[in-house]
């Protein structure tokens, strides 16, 4: 006869015993013999320990979590598309003839998904025009047939470079817009009077969204090793968290305003935003 252990009871509690074993154990628990009563008491104690007393409250996630996830996924998707484009447009051999280059461009045209082939189309058109130009000269003057030389590296890199540039500009525009929203909020807090708590209250949702996106941009800046942006975004994040957690007490707001002035955060944000805008121009 099987000796039932506490481990069997735990497995029974979680429904992890096989149907046969569970039936056997339930039969044993239902008996009125002394060992069965002891086992039943043990099982009751276990159920009590693993019951409602083990509640573990989980706070609600930030309301902007799903937006943040989708923003990160969209940025990753842009990076993926850029990488894909750079792989497709890099030619495999260094000494391709004009004919094979044109063939390669044609096959690339059909290989690239629609919507990503504007750069390739441009490169192909340039190649075709050059080809037509030299074909015209060759047919006009058969004696001096020119050797076609195309700066292959330049043509190849045009697509991916422009694609990466576009992705970077989109990201910088978003970061700049984020910093400007942060600046507006911090200006409101810095200049706020006694009604500051009432002014901030309707903006709680916006503050939470700013915190979420700030964390996203900070992580991206960390990945790009942009130390200056990381540092400013870190300071902005801690300030936003403080604002979000400050209650209606005027003294708390005044203390926050003093800390904000000491950190010179508004000035730092302005400097970083100007730098980003210069890069965009």
């Amino acid at each position: 006869m099987k000796q039932w252990t506490e481990e069997d009871l735990i497995l029974l509690f979680y429904g992890e015993l096989s149907a046969d074993q569970a039936n056997q154990l339930n039969e044993v628990l239902a008996r009125s013999t002394a060992p069965s009563r002891a086992l039943r008491a043990q099982y009751e104690a276990l159920k009590e320990a693993l019951g409602p007393s083990l509640e573990f409250d989980v706070p609600a996630p930030s309301s902007g979590l799903n937006d943040r996830i989708m923003a990160a996924v969209n940025v990753a998707e842009c990076d993926k598309q850029e990488r894909l484009r750079s792989i497709v447009t890099v030619e495999p051999e260094a000494d391709l003839s004009v004919f094979s280059r044109v063939s390669q461009r044609l096959s690339d045209w059909f290989a690239i998904p629609r919507g990503q082939n504007i750069k390739s189309a441009f490169a192909f058109t340039v190649l075709a025009l050059i080809g037509i130009f030299y074909l015209g000269r060759w047919s006009a003057d058969p004696v001096s047939m020119p050797i076609v030389t195309i700066d292959k590296q330049e043509v190849d890199q045009q697509g991916p470079r422009s694609g990466q540039e576009l992705g970077r500009r989109v990201l910088l525009t978003n970061v700049s817009a984020h910093i400007e929203s942060g600046q507006r909020l911090l200006t409101l807090v810095s200049n706020g009077g006694e009604s500051i708590a009432q002014d901030i209250e309707p903006r709680r949702q916006m503050i939470e969204d700013l915190i979420s996106f700030n964390r996203l941009y900070r992580r991206m800046a960390e990945q790009k090793n942009d130390a200056m942006l990381v540092s400013v975004l870190q300071q902005m994040e801690s300030t936003l968290l403080e604002i979000n957690h400050t209650s209606g007490d005027v003294a708390d707001w005044q203390s926050l305003q003093r800390r904000l002035a000491d950190r010179d955060l508004l000035f730092k944000l302005k400097v970083v935003d100007n730098k980003i805008n210069r890069e965009l121009i």
Binding site: L50, D57, V58, P61, R68, I69, R215
Partner: protein, 190 residues
């Protein structure tokens, strides 16, 4: 209303709205699992974000042999475990002072605070478990994943998962018995 499988097929075809729908359907559950493992709201959110990024990147490799939910849990739990390992280098878990639970001598605010602290003790008792043991327990007890699924997620033998769950239950019961003893003391005073 599209089923999960339909949504996954749409995502595989490049439909971002379908992916957004999958995020909306699952992010709450994944956040709860991540929070119970990481014990930190912001880190749990970062974990869920990273997990969904990985899922989006690898959705083509999802072959529907396991359920999407199990796969998603698997990715989330493994990201959370990586974060725990990284955190372990930077921080140390503080020991909870159970003497703080000295029984109040009267009714009123002290009593209310003491009673509310009991819930905190339960949570802390779980947090005091060794990470490996706690993760297995959290997945079985709170996330209601079977031992088979947990062993698949954590890439462990089912007997190892069972043994971790047994250890977790034993440790928790010991802690809760100590709490019961404190409650007894309190009732005597009251």
């Amino acid at each position: 209303m599209q089923t999960e499988i339909e949504l996954i097929n749409l995502v595989k075809a490049g439909d971002m709205y379908a992916f957004q729908r999958l995020v909306e359907l699952n992010s709450g559950k994944m956040f709860a699992a991540a929070y119970r493992i990481l014990k930190h709201k912001e880190q749990a959110e970062d974990c869920v974000q990273e997990a969904f990024l990985k899922v989006h990147l690898k959705i083509d490799t999802f072959n529907q042999q396991s359920t999407f939910s199990t796969w998603l849990y698997s990715v989330t739990v493994n990201v959370a475990l990586d974060m725990l390992r990284r955190n372990a280098k930077h921080s140390q878990c503080s020991d909870y002072d159970f003497d703080q639970l000295s029984t109040p001598e009267s009714n009123g605010p002290e009593k209310a605070a003491w009673i509310s602290d009991i819930g905190g003790v339960t949570e802390h008792a779980i947090n005091q478990l060794n990470d490996d043991v706690r993760v297995a327990f959290v997945l079985r007890h709170y996330e209601e994943r079977s031992i088979g699924e947990i062993s698949e997620m954590l890439k462990l033998n089912p007997s190892t998962v069972k043994s971790r769950i047994f250890r977790a239950v034993q440790r928790l019961r010991k802690t809760l018995n100590s709490l019961e003893h404190k409650v007894g003391e309190y009732e005597t005073v009251d």
